[in-house]
């Protein structure tokens, strides 16, 4: 099982535009455009690493959603994308 955490969350510049967010990442020099859920994922990963299950649970409670398999797939995709962008890091755990 993998878990993820946002490695440099405190270094990000975040501007809130009525529920949409521009996020500047100083390490890469890139600006990312995120919606509320996109930013929330980063926020809950600031601190200790979480697994996909836990992340989806947190999100469904926060946004009052029914998590289904599609939702899991979407979040897994987002995590992969964030990882490629260097916004979060993956921690490999022993099975």
């Amino acid at each position: 099982m993998n878990s993820w955490y946002s490695s440099h969350f405190s270094s990000l510049y975040i501007e809130n535009w009525d529920g949409e967010f521009t996020v500047f990442q100083p390490e890469s020099g890139k600006t990312h455009f995120l919606n509320e859920m996109g930013l929330h994922i980063l926020t809950i990963l600031d601190g200790s690493p979480l697994r996909l299950n836990t992340i989806c649970q947190e999100l469904s409670v926060h946004f009052s959603l029914q998590p289904d398999t599609q939702f899991f797939g979407k979040i897994a995709q987002t995590l992969q994308r964030y990882e490629a962008l260097g916004l979060i890091e993956r921690v490999k755990e022993n099975e």
């Binding site: 510049y13 501007e15 535009w17 009525d18 949409e20 521009t22 500047f24 100083p26 020099g29 890139k30 600006t31 455009f33």
Partner: protein, 302 residues
């Protein structure tokens, strides 16, 4: 001293010799050419520009020179050069003026990073800047040409030059290339506008340049703070709409269209954030120029 105070012969001597050194907004530009047609055109089109002060540094050195081609031995071609290097392939001699103007824009866009360069037209009214960012079909050149003949001061039809730390915008009034149908539109709407020759066959079709008004060029040192950002879109037959635009969208459009947003990094992120937060952001859909101008007048009246 202004270019119009030079006789054609004096201008020719400068252009063919050490270079015509003119003040172009916050920059100085040196132009060299021996092409008779281009010398004539510059005599008219550059008339209002001031010569750079004797001892001042000139930032950009460009040349338009004849070019022989092995592939087209009989074509009359010219080449645009900056510091002895040419960024474009040669073009026909008729396109000299258009190539010179694009070339200078390119050099500014490639070399300047102490200012944030938005891809946007900018005009000033009541002491504040109205930005008209470029996007496909914006008609920003046509629109700013009309505005500058209706009492707005032209900053630029191409560059929003912003000092990122203080937020001031700087004028850079250069020749404005009207394309295809806009040439006739401007001739009909603004018979008083001074237009250069119609240049067919460029990459962007037929182009004719409009000369910025004297006042815009004379007040080139007067910077101003921005207040309105209007994203224009010309749609055939559309009724006029001037509606507010979400700030996040304004940020996205401005940042992705700027020439050097990525290069300036954090500075640019902060500057665009402050710019968008401090301005009124609108989207303008129009087909008829009179009503568009009236709407912009009303917006900028206060």
């Amino acid at each position: 001293m202004k270019v119009e105070q030079l006789s054609l012969d004096e201008l020719r001597v400068l252009l063919a010799g050490q270079g015509l050194r003119v003040k172009m907004g916050p920059f100085n530009l040196s132009v060299q050419t021996r092409l008779p047609s281009l010398i004539h055109q510059l005599h008219q089109m550059y008339a209002h520009y001031s010569l750079a002060d004797e001892d001042e540094i000139v930032e950009f050195h460009v040349r338009v020179i004849p070019k022989r081609s092995i592939r087209q031995p009989f074509a009359r071609l010219i080449r645009f050069e900056v510091d002895g290097r040419s960024p474009f392939p040669p073009v026909s001699v008729e396109q000299a003026l258009a190539t010179l103007e694009w070339g200078v824009n390119l050099v500014i866009a490639m070399r300047i990073n102490h200012l944030l360069l938005f891809h946007s037209a900018a005009v000033e009214r009541n002491g504040h800047v109205l930005l008209l960012p470029a996007w496909p079909g914006s008609g920003k050149t046509t629109l700013s040409a009309m505005l500058m003949h209706r009492g707005y001061r032209l900053f630029s039809d191409e560059f929003g030059l912003m000092a990122p730390e203080i937020g001031d915008f700087f004028p850079l009034p250069r020749l404005m290339p009207l394309k295809n149908q806009s040439i006739k539109i401007i001739r009909d709407y603004l018979p008083e506008a001074i237009l250069g020759p119609e240049i067919p066959g460029t990459l962007k079709g037929t182009v004719a340049h409009i000369r910025p008004p004297q006042e815009s060029i004379e007040r080139v040192d007067e910077a101003a703070q921005p207040r309105w950002i209007v994203f224009p879109k010309w749609v055939a037959g559309a009724a006029l709409r001037l509606e507010s635009l979400p700030q996040s969208e304004a940020f996205l459009l401005l940042a992705t269209n700027a020439f050097n947003y990525e290069v300036l990094g954090e500075t640019a992120f902060d500057a665009v954030t402050r710019l968008v937060r401090s301005c009124e952001c609108r989207k303008l859909v129009y087909s008829d120029f009179d009503s568009a101008l009236a709407a912009l007048d009303e917006l900028t009246d206060g």
